[in-house]
Every structure is written in C-alpha cells, then in structure tokens.
C-alpha cells in the first residue's frame, strides 16, 4: 500500500470540498471493498476522506410514505429495520443474502452500491483489464468468466456488478441522492450503474468527488408482495451466480403491479422491463411467469462458460413469481 492522507469529515460540505481539492481521493465507508482493493494495489488513493461519522446514519419516514436511508446506515441495521422488514421485505432479504454477518456490520449503504466488480482479472494488477487500466484489453472474455455477464456486456468488458442490495433497489424504483461540487442531484437506481460499452472504467454515473448521501424508497405498493432469491456456489457467504428481486401484486388472479430485476447477470442490476410488459394484466400463472422470463432473457448473449446462468435466472424468476402469486402455498 502506498502512504496516504486521512481526513475524518464532519460535514457533507467538508467531504465534498476535500474530494474536489485532491484528485484521486476516495471516500472511505466501511472500507470492506476499498481497503481490500488498496491491499491488492488496485486502488492507491493519495487521500482517504472518512465519511462514516457524517450525520447520514438514519432511516427516516418520508411524508409520502416512503423511506430515506442515509448512506452511512450499515447493511445489518438496514436489513433489521422494522420498517424495511415489514414494508420492503425484498430489500432486507437481499442484504441478508450478501456477504457475512461481520461484513454487513461494517459495510455502508453507499459503499455497497459503489463496490467494484469481483472479476478476478480486475483484482490482479499483473493482468490486463480495461476496467482497471483502460485500453489494456479484457482477458475475461476468453478466460475465466463463469461468474460474469450474459446481458449487456461489450467487447471491452464482461464484468458483473456484485451488489445484492442494488438489485432489490432497482426493483423497488429507489433513487440515490448525490452531493457534489456542483450541488445535489437525484438519480434512479436503474440509471445509476452503467453498461460497460467502451468505458468500462466507469461503473456508475457518479461524477468525480460526488458523495452518495442517501437512498430514497417510494411508498411500498399496497397489496404487493416482494421477495429476493439468490443462487450461489455454496449455501451462504458467496456472490450471486444469478439472483432475482421481485415485487408482485395479484388481484383476482390477474397480475397488477409487477417489478422484476436480475442480479449477477450484467454490469448493472438488470431491471426486466420486457418481462414486466408480459406480466402486466396477464393471468398470474406459471405459464405467464415463464413467458415473461423468456421474453427478458431472449436478449442474453452468454459467453463460452456461463450459459448456465440464463437458465438459472429463468428458473429463479419463475419460482419467485409463482411463490409470490400464491401466498398460501408459499413458505
């Protein structure tokens, strides 16, 4: 690790000003990803701006019935919050499906959304990687890519976005609030993470020096149920091979509101708009759910070793939607 300066920010303005004054500076949340990458030499910031003591660690009720989640709320506290468990179960479940108890105690909401890909080449500074060193190439395309993307990838990068939290937030139509040198702005979570295109070095639309201050959830859809399910190589403590976040409302056997997002398949949480079109107004049957999943996954372009993910995602989606549609038969 290279030596670096450390600043414990006491206000959002101070943090943003410090970042603007020091190119390459990084905000330090729980550090569970950043410190790891600094050890690996992937990150070598000249200055860490510790934002964990900022007054952004609360979960507040919004006048419209939604929630505002401060960016410093720890993953375990967010998953345990009664308002989240009761009104947004998919969000609590997504967090609890990720990492370990120790890591969730440390990881922050903001840091989780901004964690970098787990692509092996990205983490190994002896290898080329367009995301880490633009223009050096993408060895994963023809190399080890079993875990990587089947949707939305480019010739330049086939990485996946690893956050489980982001997938649930995409299905919930959440927004992130950003505070930068030019003031504040709000971005939908579905627009926050990018597809790699020819600029894989840019994971999200965040601008240099912008601080993620909060996540806003719209009111929970009345009458809808929600669920997160994740497939991984072991029963616990592993990243997603594929995951599904779903919100479903069924009235008189017909699908009303439906929101579906896939994780582990792309460079961003994959909101399944084509599937949702099939779902809306259709009979809430397994057949409909299968057609919906197929409609979305028709766009998949698997790599040599990860075609299995497409079927995995399809089966997850069908089983989650079927479970949500039949509360009685559901656990």
């Amino acid at each position: 690790m290279k030596p670096f300066g450390y600043l414990r920010a006491t206000s959002v303005e101070e943090a943003v000003r410090a970042a603007a004054g020091r190119p390459g500076a990084r905000f330090l949340g729980g550090g569970t990803n950043l410190v790891d990458l600094m050890k690996l030499g992937v990150e070598a910031p000249p200055l860490l701006i510790d934002v964990t003591r900022l007054p952004l660690a609360d979960i507040e009720e919004l006048p419209d019935g939604g929630l505002r989640i401060g960016a410093m709320v720890r993953n375990s506290d967010l998953a345990a919050a009664v308002a989240v468990r009761e009104r947004y179960p998919v969000l609590s479940q997504a967090l609890l499906a990720g990492a370990s108890g120790q890591l969730r105690n440390t990881a922050t909401t903001g840091g989780n959304l901004l964690q970098r890909t787990r692509c092996l080449y990205f983490q190994d500074t002896t290898k080329p990687c367009n995301k880490r060193s633009p223009g050096t190439g993408c060895p994963a395309r023809d190399g080890v890519h079993r875990d990587l993307a089947v949707l939305g990838h480019s010739a330049h990068c086939v990485a996946t976005q690893p956050s489980d939290l982001a997938v649930a937030l995409a299905a919930l139509d959440a927004e992130v609030q950003l505070h930068g040198p030019d003031g504040e702005r709000t971005v939908a979570v579905t627009d926050f993470h990018r597809l790699p295109g020819d600029r894989p070095e840019q994971d999200t639309v965040i601008r240099p020096g912008e601080l993620l201050t909060a996540v806003r959830l719209p009111p929970a859809a009345p009458g809808a149920r929600s669920r997160y399910r994740k497939a991984r190589d072991r029963a616990s403590f592993a990243f997603a091979l594929a995951s599904v976040a779903a919100v479903l409302e069924v009235r008189d056997g017909v699908v009303g509101r439906a929101a579906l997002a896939f994780g582990g398949l792309a460079h961003r949480p994959w909101r399944a708009r084509a599937a949702e079109e099939v779902l809306h107004g259709a009979p809430a049957t397994e057949d409909t759910f299968a057609r919906a999943a197929d409609a979305e996954l028709a766009a998949a372009r698997p790599l040599r070793d990860n075609a299995f993910k497409v079927e995995l995602a399809r089966n997850l989606a069908v089983s989650v939607l079927t479970g949500l549609a039949s509360p009685a038969a559901d656990r």
């Binding site: 290279k2 030596p3 450390y6 000249p46 108890g101 120790q102 890591l103």
Partner: protein
C-alpha cells in the same frame, strides 16, 4: 507503528507528515493513545503493537473470519478495518472475553464440546459467536429467519440460524458440527448473551 508488510513502493503518494495520525482506542477496556501509519489495519495493530495475537490473519481479505473482533460490541473483520478510522472505538478481542479467571460462556461451551482441532480459527469463531448471540437477542434477522417472524422479538438460535450466522467464519479442520453445538449451548445459558452485547443498537 509501521505496517507489518513493507509497502511495495516507498514512493510517497502522500507526504510523511500526512500519513500518520494519533488516536485513542479502548482495547479490552483499557484506553490507549497510539500513533499509527494510516495503512495499519486493526488486525496488524492488535497483533504487532499490542501483542494480542488471538485474532489471526487467515486471508487478510475478509473471506475467512479468523480476524474477527468486536467493535463497540459488534463483530467485524479486523483485517479490513483501518486503525485510524476507529478513533474512540471500543475493541474487544478474544483475550478480553473472559472475566479474570472466569471464562466467557462461549469459551466454556467450546471446551465442553471440543469445538476445535488446530484452534487457528477459534478466536475468530468465539468473537463472531459473541456477536451472533447479541444480534439474535436484539432481533436481527438472518437469511434463514422466516419472513413471518416478529421483527421486534429475539431470534431463537436453531442449528440452521447458527450455521447461517456463522458462515463468515471458515474452519479448515471442519469442526463445524461441534461449533454449532457450542454456540447453541452458550445461547441457551442464562447470561450467555449479555456480556458481549455492548451498546444497544439503534433501529
């Protein structure tokens, strides 16, 4: 204190004066003022500066749990915590679990159940389990907690709950079955949870 592993490149990305800070840490209930190189992790500080070698360096990347300690009563991987960021925090290591000669209920249970072989992972298992007991008592859910559970009630530590909650602690000797039994025993003992709970968690 210097980092244990020499920097790959001494080339000062930051001036020396800017790369060290003084901070106060409460380690097993004693307050210390230390000056650290910003690169120092809590794990390295505990082992190299305080001589507290209970917490182990298994992977150094958050993947094995051998370095688990309690920070303000909550379990964390000390290999991924920068010491400088913990100013004012209370650290509890495996050396601080016992009260004098009286072992922590978890330590008793691990001995009773013979819940280890080589013992390398054990300090991390113990600190993690202390965190698990407190989290379950505070009603924190896990991946296997039924969605229908009362979100304000303590969670009963079934074997499934313990396995899931302890999944961040690997054991190369495969002592898992007995670790699960030991944690269940300690959880069932009155007072088994109280001492590790540390501060109330705001929700």
């Amino acid at each position: 204190m210097e980092p244990t592993s020499p920097p790959a490149d001494g080339g000062g990305a930051a001036p020396a004066a800017e790369s060290r800070s003084e901070l106060v840490l409460h380690v097993n209930d004693v307050a210390y003022t230390v000056t650290v190189d910003h690169r120092t992790t809590v794990l390295d500080l505990l082992r190299e500066h305080f001589g507290l070698t209970g917490a182990k360096k298994g992977c150094d990347h958050g993947q094995c749990g051998a370095c688990t300690v309690l920070v303000d009563g909550r379990r964390a991987n000390s290999c991924l915590l920068l010491a400088v960021a913990q100013d004012g925090r209370r650290l509890t290591t495996v050396e601080g679990l016992a009260e004098g000669e009286r072992l922590h209920p978890l330590q008793e249970a691990f001995l009773d159940r013979d819940a280890f072989q080589c013992g390398y992972c054990t300090p991390g298992q113990l600190c993690s389990a202390a965190g698990v007991l407190a989290e379950a008592a505070d009603g924190f859910p896990s991946h296997v907690t039924p969605a229908t559970a009362d979100p304000t009630a303590p969670v009963a530590l079934t074997a499934d709950e313990i396995r899931e909650r302890m999944s961040g602690n690997l054991c190369r000797c495969g002592a898992y079955p007995r670790i699960v039994e030991a944690v269940a025993d300690a959880g069932a003992r009155p007072g088994g949870t109280a001492r590790s709970a540390g501060q109330e968690v705001a929700r």
